[in-house]
């Protein structure tokens, strides 16, 4: 039986970041306890003997929960799912919410990988992004995490922030890599209309970063990080060999996963389904012993194939012919042969020993390939 991933959505934040358009809310201890109980109830409703080899607590800000609450969540999961003893258990954490005690507690609860939302080490960028912590606090959090026993550590950083310079981007990357982190994720800032940043943009108080500057920043990272031992294994992700995020690799292999909590998504047997995103609606459904799923999408075969290709091409390893055949019963060329030939000829795609991958120069403009793959 193929292993599945478990995703737990924690919909709370102490304060919403200025660029965030995800569902999250500010809440108090009582809400957290109630949420943990609901999550346990949902786990019991969706129990399964599918083997689970990764768990990811994402958000929101999972680190608003206390170690005891996280422990209760993980114990609840182990009651209803077949969790592998070596499972990768990741938790996202905001540096502004961490203390050594808390970190020790999470570690003791079973969390073995930490993903820290550092975002930047430049104070003015952090302020514009609406982050609660300073650069120093972020660096402290990394040190404390290590002290608490988290070797498997990742940091998120953002580029393309209005006003960000090449120098500050390079400094952020260098200071982080000086700490010899095993994993780093880079995101180019997207400004959505209905966010504080979106409003600043509309009112002309900030200007979007220049496309060429953003391209240069990405390019810099793609050179600098491998020089420091972090290899690019996906469009936005870099790690020391063997320290890739197993949970995320499962997404890019278009593997199955179960999502619990409000606004969490699942993908099982070709059906993608989404839970109610509003905490109250979610609570009402779960309390009644019903499924929290309110959105469901059954992919037709061509779309499923296209998604599989697109997700796999995000990784450096690329698409494996063998696993495509195993999944769909026919080679990828059956439906995509013409497009692939065309793209091979124009250098948008390359062959690998196992299948296909994006040439390095195409990675920054991968949408040009992806839009052609979509039916």
């Amino acid at each position: 039986m193929a292993a599945v991933g478990l995703y737990i959505h924690v919909p709370f934040c102490l304060q919403k970041c200025s660029y965030c358009d995800f569902y999250s809310l500010a809440a108090g201890e009582a809400d957290y306890d109630r949420y943990v109980r609901l999550l346990q109830q949902e786990a019991s409703l969706r129990q399964s003997d599918l083997p689970v080899d990764t768990i990811f607590l994402g958000g929101g800000t999972p680190s608003v929960l206390s170690p005891a609450q996280v422990s209760a969540v993980l114990q609840g999961l182990s009651r209803y799912f077949a969790i592998h003893p070596d499972a990768e258990i990741t938790m996202e954490a905001n540096p502004g919410t961490l203390t050594l005690d808390k970190l020790l507690g999470y570690r003791a609860a079973g969390v073995n990988r930490l993903s820290l939302g550092v975002q930047s080490l430049d104070e003015s960028e952090l302020r514009l992004l609406g982050r609660l912590h300073s650069a120093e606090a972020a660096l402290d959090a990394i040190r404390l995490a290590r002290k608490a026993g988290f070797e498997n550590l990742s940091c998120d950083v953002i580029y393309g922030v209005p006003g960000q310079s090449m120098q500050s981007w390079q400094a952020t990357l260098e200071r982080l890599t000086d700490l010899e982190l095993p994993h780093i994720s880079l995101y180019s800032l997207e400004i959505h209309d209905d966010t504080p940043l979106g409003r600043l943009l509309q009112s002309g108080q900030i200007r979007e970063a220049d496309e060429d500057l953003i391209a240069d920043m990405y390019s810099l990272a793609r050179h600098l990080l491998p020089e420091r031992g972090l290899w690019q294994y996906e469009i936005s992700n870099f790690s020391k060999p063997g320290w890739e995020s197993r949970h995320n690799l499962n997404y890019w292999q278009n593997g199955d996963y179960v999502g619990l909590g409000p606004a969490a998504w699942s993908y099982l047997n070709g059906v993608r389904s989404g839970n109610a995103s509003d905490l109250n609606t979610y609570a009402k459904l779960i309390a009644r012993g019903e499924s929290a799923v309110v959105e469901r999408e059954q992919l037709d075969e061509l779309t499923a194939e296209a998604e599989t290709i697109i997700l796999a091409l995000r990784t450096t390893k690329g698409l494996s012919n063998a696993s495509f055949v195993a999944r769909f019963g026919h080679p990828v060329e059956l439906h995509f042969g013409c497009i692939f030939d065309d793209m091979l000829a124009s250098g948008m795609l390359r062959r690998t020993t196992e299948g296909y991958a994006l040439p390095s120069a195409i990675v920054p403009i991968a949408n040009q390939v992806f839009t052609r793959v979509l039916p």
Binding site: I214, I235, G259, T371, R372
Partner: protein, 599 residues
């Protein structure tokens, strides 16, 4: 009874209240109940309501009991006010004996009103001046009366003072129509003669023609013949507009109405043709038709999706029926494939046609930049009309080129005379005359190339006069000009659909501006795209659309996959709407870029 019929129209400048007045007349005669009244009843096209203008003429029958106790049938034929649609105006005038001349009590006479009044005088119509909006604070009916007398030369002593909005003067208008507009003069005992003044296509009933019965009568079941085309039909049904069509048993001489006769072929009916009885009862003498209009503005219309070519042809056929001034011919472009070269009366007409094709026929179109018809005099002495810049004869074989000139009248408050003169000079205008309408307003007369009016002339006119200037123009003929063709090369290939003809003195700035505009409009693609403007073999401007360097969705994890896929689908849709020319994707707006080049 013919003696109790009055056919009239309303002449007014845009915004002077014509549609509101028509609404009041309909309301006042009880033709529509208040419940049925929608603002601007006569402007039935969505486009007309949105833009607040009249494009198509419409006809409506009003039943009015006059003060003499008798009941009269008043046929109101609506007319468009914009300069582009003067052809429609002259058609409606031919169906009338009288006209209400509506002038805004604040703004006074505008250039377009003048042009239409002259048309009405040519048709020997009785003109009843109405000074509208007298309720407005700035109203000055006495000044407007003097203007009417001085400028048009008709008496305005007894002009009706009205406010369509407030319902003032409506009774007097109706009475005066009955008293002053002559009853139609046709002979009910002569063989049938009916003038087709408009038509449209109905999917179920075929062509519906709008007719004015001049002599004789027409009834359902009657066999009829179109005198110009010779086609014969049996009348299915006839009726009048109330404004909804109302079936009638007979249309007598002098009346205006519609006729349906299962006419399936659009080409069998022609606006301006005369309908008579088939066989020996038919008349031998057709009514004087309309002057054939000569389109002065041409552009290419191409389907974005090549498979829509046939649909576009059918749509044009049907639209032409409703819009006789539209002409088109198939043409091929190396860049755009199969499409049509279409001729229009002016820019607004072009925009309206394009919008109607897209809305009413669900087509996705690429419109190339409009141009006038040029006249090439060849070295062998022969002459050739050129309606597509790409087809200009080679320079070596051309003696010289000529372009159409217009005489433009601009009516403007005297404060803006300087601005107007500057604008006209920028547009190669030749000053002819300046005349004061009163102490504060003047008519400026200029001669200038029609091609200059095609660009941003009207917008400039409005913006440099704070909206006060009005414009009318008529084509006065061809004049030799120093013209040359400006070509655009994208990725090293000439894109024929982007060629334009420009004056030599402007070639450099136009070329420079055009490639700059194109650089902004064409999205970055997989490779650098050189854009060049050329005159003959000489490159006069160059820009580059740099290769795309960043086009990737950063985050993509479990919860995001559907959302991200939808973003990619949207991006793909956007690409589909672009035209692939060689290996370059060009958005629709790029083909109109030259219009946006300011100097």
């Amino acid at each position: 009874m013919q003696s109790h019929v009055r056919n009239f129209c309303i002449i007014a400048h845009i915004d002077h209240g014509k549609s509101t007045l028509a609404d009041r007349l309909i309301e006042h005669t009880g033709t529509l109940s208040e419940r049925e009244m929608m603002e601007q009843v006569l402007d039935s096209m969505d486009l007309e309501r949105e833009r607040g203008i009249t494009i198509k003429l419409q006809a409506v029958r009003l039943i009015y009991r006059a003060q003499d106790g008798e009941e009269y049938t008043l046929n109101l034929i609506d007319t468009p006010g914009h300069v582009d649609f003067s052809y429609e105006v002259s058609r409606s005038l031919a169906a009338c004996e009288g006209a209400l001349l509506v002038v805004d009590a604040v703004q006074g006479i505008e250039a377009q009103t003048l042009a239409n009044v002259y048309l009405a005088l040519e048709h020997n119509l009785t003109i009843i001046p109405v000074i509208n909006k007298i309720d407005l604070p700035g109203a000055d009916p006495e000044r407007v009366k003097r203007e009417i007398e001085d400028v048009i030369g008709i008496s305005a002593d007894n002009a009706i003072l009205a406010s369509a909005k407030e319902g003032i003067g409506i009774n007097e208008i109706l009475e005066r129509i009955v008293q002053e507009v002559p009853a139609p003069a046709g002979d009910p005992d002569k063989p049938l003669r009916a003038l087709i003044f408009d038509s449209h296509y109905d999917d179920y009933r075929g062509v519906i023609t709008y007719i004015r019965v001049v002599d004789g009568k027409i009834e359902p079941g009657m066999k009829i013949r179109m005198m110009a085309t010779g086609a014969e039909f049996e009348v299915d049904d006839i009726g009048v507009f109330t404004p909804p069509p109302l079936r009638m048993q007979r249309l007598d001489a002098g009346t205006v109405g519609y006729l349906a006769a299962s006419i399936k072929n659009v080409k069998d009916t022609r606006v301006g043709d005369t309908i008579t009885a088939a066989g020996k009862d038919g008349s031998k003498e057709p009514l004087p038709g309309y002057k054939k209009v000569i389109p002065m503005v041409y552009c290419g219309l191409y389907p974005v999706e090549t498979i829509q070519y046939d649909e576009l042809r059918t749509a044009l056929d049907k639209l032409q029926l409703n819009d006789a001034s539209l002409i088109y011919e198939p043409e091929t472009s190396e860049a755009l494939g199969f499409g049509f070269r279409c001729g229009f009366l002016g820019l607004l007409h072009m925009e309206i046609v394009q919008e109607r094709l897209e809305r009413e026929y669900n087509l996705d179109l690429i419109t190339t930049a409009p141009n006038t018809v040029y006249l090439a005099t060849l070295t062998d002495g022969s002459e050739q009309l050129v309606d597509n810049p790409a087809h200009l004869p080679p320079i070596g074989k051309t003696e010289h080129l000529s372009e159409p000139y217009v005489r433009a009248s601009i009516i403007v408050p005297s404060d803006y005379i300087g601005n107007m003169m500057e604008l006209a000079k920028d547009k190669r205008g030749i000053f002819k005359n300046m005349e004061y309408l009163d102490t504060s307003r003047v008519v400026l007369t200029y001669e200038l190339p029609l091609s200059e009016i095609l660009y941003d002339f009207f917008d400039q006119l409005k913006s440099r006069s704070k909206g006060y200037a009005s414009l009318d123009y008529e084509v006065i003929g061809y004049r030799q000009s120093d013209l040359e063709r400006l070509d655009v090369m994208i990725n090293g290939e000439v894109v024929d659909a982007l060629s334009t003809i420009v004056h030599k003195d402007r070639a450099y700035t136009k070329g420079r501006g055009l490639v700059e505009k194109l650089r902004k409009l064409i999205p970055r693609q997989m490779f650098d795209i050189p854009l060049q403007a050329a005159i003959g073999n000489k490159i006069i401007a160059r820009e580059t659309v740099k290769a795309v360097r960043k086009d990737v969705l950063a985050k993509c994890y479990g919860g995001d996959i559907s959302r991200k896929r939808k973003l990619l689908e949207k991006q793909k849709e956007g690409k589909k709407r672009m035209k692939q020319v060689g290996s370059v994707e060009i958005p629709q707006e790029a083909f109109m870029a030259i219009l946006k080049v300011t100097e």
